[in-house]
């Protein structure tokens, strides 16, 4: 199994779509077995999961956006990606 590390390049898994909920305007993730409303932090991570950007660069980009240092966001980003991956909503390649 490929493990999730700083050089992994996460992307939305096959068949997963990110869109805005037309009723609330809030972001949601659509996937084969359902709908997952997203909080702002998860959305910020997912829009950076291009399949090109590494986890390390996603952390840098988020730290810049939140005007904080990378160490502050690292644990949350890794935890969030690990959970999404467990549910097969995010896939990774190295």
């Amino acid at each position: 199994m490929i493990s999730l590390d700083a050089q992994s390049r996460p992307a939305l898994a096959r068949g997963v779509r990110l869109r805005n909920d037309p009723i609330t305007g809030e972001p949601v993730l659509l996937f084969p077995e359902g709908v997952l409303p997203l909080d702002a932090a998860t959305h910020d991570i997912l829009i950076r999961c291009s399949g090109q950007a590494t986890v390390a660069s996603i952390i840098l980009s988020l730290a810049e956006e939140y005007e904080t240092d990378p160490g502050t966001v690292r644990a949350d980003v890794c935890e969030c990606l690990a959970q999404l991956r467990q549910r097969m909503l995010v896939a990774i390649s190295s």
């Binding site: 490929i2 096959r14 779509r17 659509l30 084969p32 709908v35």
Partner: protein, 367 residues
């Protein structure tokens, strides 16, 4: 409270090439003509306006509708995510490519077991080989794949091999759905409910394989409510997130709600979906907590499990408003408990599936 549906299950037809004895379809099918292409298109548009984001095509077997690709395109045009829930009988390459072209997002294929002979005995049809082929085609065309296996006494002993099958098929998801006892499954429950030790073993196997397959395949498994102390939070509460439209256009808060005698369902041919969702008697009957009897109405869990399943309460107690007997606090718990105990002592419980075929009634198609 403002309720809003997210998911629509469109049961396109009750016709199916399989005859699984655990089918949750009603034993007595509703009368009337199947909805037309144009009527379904209108349902999808109304559903999207109401807030639905996700659509499951189900049945019976949705591939039996010649206009399925047209319906997929209509649902996509309405902005819905589309998932095909299928036996895969009839999913040849050309048909699958046509559905891909129409915008179908994902495919869920049912398997009855990993072994062809057993699988076909359970399905009451020669289907296993076709399913294997269809799963391969689905992957080659780039569809995400969910494998769904209804678990019961006849196949739970094959759980390890079933998980390996889903892994070999490169499925993203494996739904191990313990048979739920509605419709045909309720009639056959004495032959279908696994024993307590079979369930305990299954829980161990699933935990180990989940860990091993992390990031490759998600395994979904919920301990069956017949073996739980607390009921399942059925449909996440009556009429809060889900809509089912059956083949003739009746709108149901859950796919098995026709098990509740005396509950009348409104139809998309005579009422707008929005009215049915917000105003109809059937959708409001068990919404919220005001309908609840004791002990539910005083229970701290009442907004967590919603008193369990209304259909199960109706089937086991005759009263759809009773506490689900899957709850240990239900005054009717004994009805469920004595049935569960009878299964533990059943000398047939550990015999092979084929030995018990005579005890089962297999699902029939509508005439």
């Amino acid at each position: 409270m403002n309720y809003r549906p997210y998911l629509l299950l469109a049961e396109l037809t009750h016709s199916c090439p399989l005859h699984c004895p655990y089918c949750s379809n009603p034993i007595v099918y509703p009368g009337g003509r199947e909805l037309s292409t144009a009527e379904w298109r209108r349902v999808f548009e109304e559903a999207a306006q109401l807030g639905v984001l996700h659509l499951g095509f189900s049945g019976g077997e949705p591939l039996r509708r010649a206009d399925l690709a047209e319906l997929v395109a209509a649902a996509r045009a309405a902005g819905l995510y589309t998932n095909l829930i299928t036996s895969a009988v009839g999913l040849q390459r050309r048909r699958a490519a046509q559905l891909r072209e129409a915008g179908l997002d994902s495919i869920q294929i049912s398997f009855q077991s990993d072994q062809e002979t057993l699988a076909d005995q359970i399905a009451g049809a020669s289907a296993h080989a076709l399913k294997l082929e269809a799963a391969k085609v689905a992957r080659e065309l780039g569809f995400p794949l969910t494998v769904n296996v209804v678990l019961h006494r006849g196949n739970i002993v094959r759980l390890e091999q079933i998980i390996s099958l889903a892994e070999d098929l490169e499925a993203e998801r494996l739904e191990l759905a313990n048979a739920q006892f509605y419709g045909w499954a309720f009639q056959n429950r004495a032959a279908l409910l696994p024993t307590r030790s079979q369930i305990a073993r299954a829980v161990e196997i699933v935990a180990a394989r989940k860990k091993q397959l992390l990031g490759r395949m998600e395994i979904l498994f919920v301990t069956p409510d017949y073996y739980s102390e607390r009921p399942k939070p059925c449909m996440n509460g009556w009429a809060t997130r889900f809509l089912t439209v059956n083949p003739v256009g009746d709108v149901l808060p859950c796919p098995t709600a026709s098990a509740i005698r005396g509950l009348r369902f409104d139809n998309v041919r005579t009422r707008p979906l929005a009215w049915i969702w917000s105003q109809s008697e059937s959708f409001n009957r068990f919404r919220g907590t005001e309908w609840m009897p004791a002990p539910c109405c005083e229970c701290p869990m009442r907004e967590i499990d919603f008193g369990g399943c209304r259909c199960q309460a109706a089937l086991l107690t005759g009263d759809a408003a009773a506490t689900d007997p899957a709850c240990s606090l239900s005054p009717h718990r004994q009805k469920l408990a004595s049935f569960v105990e009878s299964v533990q002592e059943d000398p047939a419980a550990n015999r092979p599936f084929a030995a018990g075929l005579g005890r089962l009634s297999f699902r029939q198609n509508p005439h």
